[in-house]
Each structure stands twice: as structure tokens, then as C-alpha cells.
Amino acid sequence: VSGPLRFEGCEIPGRLEPASPQEIAEVLSGLAARGGAVLVRGGGSRLAIGNPLRRADAVLETAGLGRLLELDADEGVLQAESGISLAKLRSAADAAGWELPLDPPGAAATLGGTLAAAAPGPSFASPRDVVLGIEVALASGELVHAGGRVVKNVTGYDLGKLFTGSFGALGVITSAWLRLRPRPEARAVLLAPAPEDAGLALEAARRPAVRAALLMDAGPAGEAAPDGAGGGMLFELAGDEPAVAGDRAWLAERVGARAAAEGALERARERLGVGAPGGSGEAGPPARAEVRLRVAAVPTALASAAAALRAAGARAVAQPARGLVHACAVLAPDAGPEDAAALLAAARAAAERGRGSWRVEAAPLAVKRGLDVFGEPGPRLSLLRRLKAEYDPRSVLNPGRFAGGL
């Protein structure tokens, strides 16, 4: 549709914006027939996540699929197309008396992109648990469905789980049925000095009314350092009035938590984001050469994981109860793989000690070229290959970007 754009060293000649799920399926089968490929894009918030793109004839945008198809307020479920923005979905759910349990960073985030990246937010970490049913356009040109609109369902394979977190490697999510949550009666956002004791931080994060708990190093603007001395711990409390009041008192007494400034949770959320992708075109070149990565570790190993990343030069945001650390290091603009080596080694070791996983979520192209950004798939690689071969045998979808360079 428009002129060429560059993305991670690839020149992409055009842009496609199909207007319906059926059209997406047709585009894919057309491309498959002549050996073409696309880079799939929702809002672009997480486009930085991925191995270097090998080739693409077009950017396939889901912006034309922006409709809310149904919202059942009595049932607390909705169905929407994948290109709809989360902001729009959130306000629709809110107006019906429900809450959308998806809150990844990125103001432009779409439903499809959030699901494709299984993107956690501070309050709702598990998009896979929100999906009741899914519609996906496959590279074969088929538009397929799994699950449905009911909240409990074991009719056939749970393909919603397969596609949530598949980063567009197996198909393009075109719509989904989601389960909403009741809007909490009470809510509070509190900030405390970072507890010295990792055990206390974990105990605080696990209080029953706490649904977000972020242990943050001081950010670039010092926004997470209420006392100006090395970070803080931000809490979101939500639930019944007595439960929230009880935990507010507990947190005040045990960790010195006080009401946080307006917008503190939203600012903290963006620190879990990945920034602009390393492409040009509308996104523009990245302002800085950053390496952003994520380590998942069991809760008791999380504090040492964060400390190791910090020692390797990164600022970290840890979520103690969830077992997630997001870290960000700023490199020189001309940084090469060797400049990131210590940080990557720290992430790998922390994931191993924490019985978890690691992945790089943003990095300059030169750094990406030296590794698999999804961590090493190890013995699972042959299974990933077979899955890719079954769903996208001609590599029409995001070639090269997925784990194992698939």
C-alpha cells in the first residue's frame, strides 16, 4: 500500500491492511502460493521481540480488524477482533461493569499483539488464562477456531494456549473470546522503600489483596525512589473493601507503604515494555541502544536473579510473587555482541539457578545476530520445527523471527 520500510536490516516493500479475518486468510494463502512472506504487526508495542527477520514482502497490519463483536454483560465475556486496541476494549468492559484482565505495557497495544506475545502486565500476568476461544488465520488460507464463549471447555485441544505466545509464527490471531473479571470494589496504589529482606518483599507481594507488586531500581528519572535512595516497591491492591483495608494497614506497618503518586502504576508498567523496535519507517530508529530482557525464576531465586542482572549493569524491575524480572541496560550506540555478553551470561545463569527461562526482548541488531533471543530451546527445538512445519510449512509468517530462528 505504501512505500518501502526497513525493519531490522530487511527492506519490506509494502504494507497490507486487510479488512476482515477472511481477507487475512486469503492474503496468507496467496503469499504461500508464490513463496512470499509477511511481518505481522498489531500495535507494534512488542515488535522488538524476535530474532532478526529473514525476509518479508509486506507488513501485514491487523488495524483493519478493530471491532468489538459482542460483550455479554450478564456473563462477563466478550468477543473482539484482534486489531482492536486494549484501551478501547478496557473502556467497553468498564462501561459494562467488568474489568479487562490484560494490562501489558504499550499505549498502542492491541488484543492480537498482546495474545501473540502472551504479554504480562503488572496486575494481570497471564493472558493465556483470559482466552476462552480463538480464531486464527493459517498460512494455508484456512480460518480456524478453537474453544468458544463458555468459561469451561475441554472440547478438543486447547489451541488457544498454543497460539497465545506464538508470536505470529504459527498463524495470525483474528479474533478471540475473553473472560472478564468483576471490577474490584476497592483499589489502592501504594509505594514503599524497597525492603532489605527479600523474604519480607515476597511476603508483602503475596498478601491476599495485592495483585501487582513491583520491586524497582531507581529509574532514569528517579521515579521509583521515593526516598531518593535506591528504588522502591510499588503495590496495587484490589478486591473487597475489608481485604484491601487490611492489607493497606499490613503494608504500612511492615514495609512502610504509603499512597503512591497519581499515575505511579502506569509509569511502572511502561518499565516492563520493550521500547520501539530496531527498525525505521514509522517507528523511527531507537533513541538509545538498549538491551531489554526478561528472566523467569522461582520466587525464592528472584532476588539473586535481580542482583546478578544489576551487577551486570542493568536496572531491574522484579515481581517477587510472580517470579519475573525485567531488566534494561543502555549500551553505546555502536555496541556489538561483546558489550552485551556479560549481561546475557548473567541472565542465562539466573534462569538456570531459578529453574526458569530467559529471553531478550529488545536489542540492537548486532547483538541479536549473535544469539537466539528466546533463550535456547534446547531439546525442544525439533518439536518447534515440526510445529512450524505443520502450521506454516513455507515460512510465510515472520520468517526467522521465532525461537530457533524459525
Binding site: R67, G133, K152, D158, L159, K161, A209, R359, L383, A403
Partner: protein, 461 residues
């Protein structure tokens, strides 16, 4: 290894006693390595294999539908690790569901999914079926509690899918494998999430004049933003069967239905929610609402629910336990239709179900020795499934498809949808040797798929 016909007899069926097929052999391994040897031998012989837990499944999932080797996991019953501080445990697949909760109770933790058969069913079977139970309304089903799996593929390759830390860096293959009914390989180890035992639990029993008003109370509770741990309905026929049995819970036998509500969480919040539930039940027409005063009374309330299947043994020699789901708000009208279907076929129906999830269990009492009655049971079952699908529902909420419902898959899914599932299967099991004959229809079909029913034809708002 068991091979004598009389030894194989007990393996020809599971909890679904209608479709039977004996295996050629049964093996009882104790370790992952032994499972690998069995699977390797099956590969070399080109033989199918069928993983089996306790055999309590209700859809024929553990039956060797096409013969081959049953890999019975009951001896793989060790809890390998408990990480209380990290809130997970590593177990072998043959660990009995209720045993796991008992074993971790000392740490203040429990394993949340609690199917009705929890005293016998195993974690491996729960993983295969993505089992639910009364408490899934708040806590989710098995899939929400499995962090990782060790899977022996039909090639005898061993993979760990997922990790105890959760958050898969790429594909969520543990998520894709839970509920796959043993068709992707044999699960030999499971990393399960443990949750804290709630500080307070409150159990209410509301008596209603009829089942429709009890369903209205469920809708009112959900709409009010409450998330009880359980919302269960027991209908009049079931109440009478329970009261006439050893499970008698002192329920009024003239009640049209009882609604069991369990709330859990922080003490102060639970007490308030209890009051709210009481009001909502009264508003929906409850004639009486009781709150359990102690553990003994709570157990008595639950006896009415959990003893239901046992009690129904008194009604007839056989019981067909159906399983289907509809949107919760459609429960009243669907129940009326389900009763009408069974009346029309002259069948004895009772209902006991997970109302909060919209998960129906119409139970038909019958005598299989009467071929005409058996035929009517099957016909009514199909009509019930069609009715649920037309209401936007699904044909199984927690029992699985197995052999029982494989030929009804077309009610919900078209050829391309099933092919999308078959692609997943082929990536794991290209030779179709892991539990063949399950989930996928045995016959080709083309006209059954009903996009309207599955809700994918909506016009935009």
C-alpha cells in the same frame, strides 16, 4: 506386564462403561525410564499405547480403542519434591489427587483442582482431561495449575515442556498438552502449582422451590461481581436419592433444588460476601438459606453434592453422567429443555452441576440390559448436546471427548478446525500411536458444523 485375558478384563473400560475394548497388554511402570522403554518397544512394534491413571474417566479416554499396550501409571505414585516456599510440587502421574493436597497441607498449601473422583483419580489423568471440579469457578481447571510436564513422545524422545517458574519464553507447550487426552505422548512427571489454604471458608446452602429460581440466583451472584469458590446446584430428584442413601444430609425432600455456595478468602471479606449471597438468594426466591456453623455442618452440606453419584446407584443399575457447558445465563432455559428431552424419551433424569461455570451434568439412570432404554439414553444424550451447542455452549466441560463424543465434534467444529488440531497431533505423534481413536471423529462429516452456535458469526456492535 499383564497379558492374560482375565487380567486384561478390568482394563477394557473406564468410568464410561458403554464402549469397551480390551488392550493386548498392560504394563505397570514405576519410573520415567521404564515408560521410555515401553514406548520404544511400541515404536519398534508399530503398536499403539494408551496412558491410564485410575480409570475414573467418563469419556472412554483410558480405553485401548484400537488395542495395543495400556501404560497404567498407578505405580508411579511418588511425590518427588515439594517446594513450599516456591509453591509448587513435582509429582509422578500416578499420585492420587486428594493425596497431594493431604501431603502439602502441613505447609498451609493445597492443590486446587478437585474433581468429584479426587479420592481415586490421579494427577496424570487430570492432566490428560484438564479436569475441573466444584472449585474451578474461582481457581480454574487443571491447566491453570500445571507449570510443566515431562512428556515421553511416541518416538520415545523425552521432553520437559514448561518450567516451574512459568512464563514460557516461546510456545506454551505445557498449556497445549494439558487436556490432550493422552494423544500427544505419556506424561511421566508433572510440576504442579500449590495455593495457600484460604484463611476463611463459608459454606451456604440455599433451598429453592424449583431449579429455575436457583439458576437465577447463580446469575445474580455472578452479576454482582462475587466470585465464590463454588456454586453448585442439586435438583429435587438428586436430593431425594441422596436423602434415601447413606449420604443423607438432612435436606428437605420437597425442595425443588438446593444451591451450595462456598466463599473463601480473607475472613472479613468472606463474612460480608456471605451476607450478600444470602440477600441475592432470597431475592431469587430461596425459601431458606443456611450457613454452615462448623466443619461438621460444612461436610454435611457437601455430602449432598459429593454423594450424589453414589446415591444415584440406588435409582437404577446404570448411570450415564453427561457433561456439557452453556453460558451461565442460559441455564434456566436449557434445564427446562433437558428435562423435556428426557421426559419425551421416557428417561429418569437427575441434575447435579457446577452452575457457576454453566457446566451441566444431566445424569440419566437406566438399565443397560434393556436395549430399547439404552437406545433412548443415547438418543437423548445427543439431543442434549445439540441443545447446549445451539445455546452457544460446548459438548464437554471437564470429562473430555474420548471415544464417547468424538463423533459429535462436528457439532462445534468444521473440517478446518479439526485439521488445525490434527496438525498439533502430527507434530507430536505423526504415526498416530498415542491413544488413537480419541477426540477426532471416526467418520467424515460436512454439514454438521454450526458457526452460529459457537458464536463466531456475530455482527459487530
Amino acid at each position: 506386564v499383564l497379558t492374560r485375558p482375565e487380567e486384561l478384563l478390568v482394563y477394557e473400560a473406564d468410568g464410561l462403561t458403554l464402549g469397551t475394548h480390551p488392550p493386548d497388554a498392560v504394563v505397570l511402570p514405576r519410573t520415567s525410564a521404564e515408560v521410555v522403554s515401553v514406548v520404544r518397544a511400541c515404536r519398534e512394534a508399530g503398536a499403539p499405547f494408551v496412558p491410564r491413571g485410575a480409570g475414573t474417566g467418563l469419556s472412554g479416554g483410558a480405553v485401548a480403542a484400537e488395542g495395543g499396550v495400556v501404560i497404567e501409571c498407578s505405580r508411579m505414585d511418588r511425590i518427588l519434591e515439594v517446594h513450599a516456599e516456591d509453591r509448587y510440587a513435582v509429582v509422578q502421574p500416578g499420585v492420587v489427587n486428594a493425596e497431594l493436597s493431604r501431603a502439602v497441607a502441613g505447609h498451609g498449601l493445597l492443590y486446587a483442582p478437585d474433581p468429584s473422583s479426587q479420592a481415586a483419580c490421579t494427577i496424570g489423568g487430570n492432566v490428560a482431561e484438564n479436569s475441573g471440579g466444584p472449585h474451578t469457578l474461582k481457581y480454574g481447571t487443571t491447566t491453570n495449575h500445571v507449570l510443566a510436564l515431562e512428556l515421553v513422545l511416541p518416538s520415545a524422545e523425552v521432553l520437559v515442556l514448561g518450567s516451574p517458574a512459568g512464563f514460557a519464553p516461546d510456545l506454551d507447550l505445557a498449556g497445549a498438552a494439558v487436556g490432550s487426552e493422552g494423544t500427544l505422548g505419556v506424561v511421566t512427571r508433572v510440576w504442579v502449582r500449590l495455593v495457600p489454604i484460604p484463611e476463611a471458608v463459608e459454606t451456604l446452602l440455599a433451598i429453592f422451590p424449583d431449579v429455575v429460581s436457583s439458576c437465577r440466583a447463580v446469575t445474580a451472584i455472578i452479576r454482582a461481581g462475587l466470585v465464590p469458590a463454588a456454586l453448585e446446584i442439586v435438583d429435587q430428584r438428586t436430593i431425594r436419592a441422596v436423602e434415601a442413601s447413606v449420604y443423607a444430609a438432612g435436606l428437605p425432600t420437597d425442595a425443588g433444588a438446593v444451591l451450595l455456595v462456598e466463599l473463601d478468602g480473607v475472613r472479613a471479606a468472606v463474612a460480608r460476601q456471605g451476607e450478600r449471597v444470602r440477600e441475592l438468594c432470597a431475592g431469587a426466591g430461596a425459601t431458606r438459606v443456611e450457613i454452615a456453623r462448623d466443619e461438621a455442618e460444612r461436610a454435611r452440606f457437601w455430602r449432598a453434592r459429593k454423594g450424589a453419584f453414589g446415591a444415584m446407584g440406588r435409582l437404577a443399575p446404570d448411570l450415564y453422567v453427561h457433561d456439557a457447558v452453556v453460558p451461565r445465563t442460559k441455564l434456566p432455559e436449557i434445564l427446562v429443555k433437558v428435562c423435556e428431552i428426557c421426559d419425551r424419551h421416557g428417561l429418569r433424569l437427575s441434575n447435579v452441576f457446577h452452575a457457576g461455570d454453566g457446566n451441566l451434568h444431566p445424569n440419566i439412570s437406566f438399565d443397560r440390559r434393556d436395549p430399547d432404554e439404552l437406545r433412548r439414553v443415547i438418543a437423548a444424550g445427543e439431543e442434549i448436546l445439540r441443545t447446549c451447542v445451539e445455546a452457544g455452549g460446548a459438548i464437554s466441560g471437564e470429562h473430555g471427548i474420548g471415544t464417547e463424543k468424538r463423533d459429535y465434534m462436528g457439532l462445534l467444529f468444521g473440517e478446518a478446525d479439526l485439521e488445525a488440531m490434527a496438525r498439533l497431533r502430527r507434530a507430536f505423534d505423526p504415526e498416530r500411536r498415542s491413544n488413537p481413536g480419541k477426540i477426532f471423529p471416526t467418520t467424515r462429516f460436512c454439514v454438521e458444523s454450526n458457526p452460529k452456535a459457537r458464536g463466531y458469526d456475530r455482527v459487530p456492535l
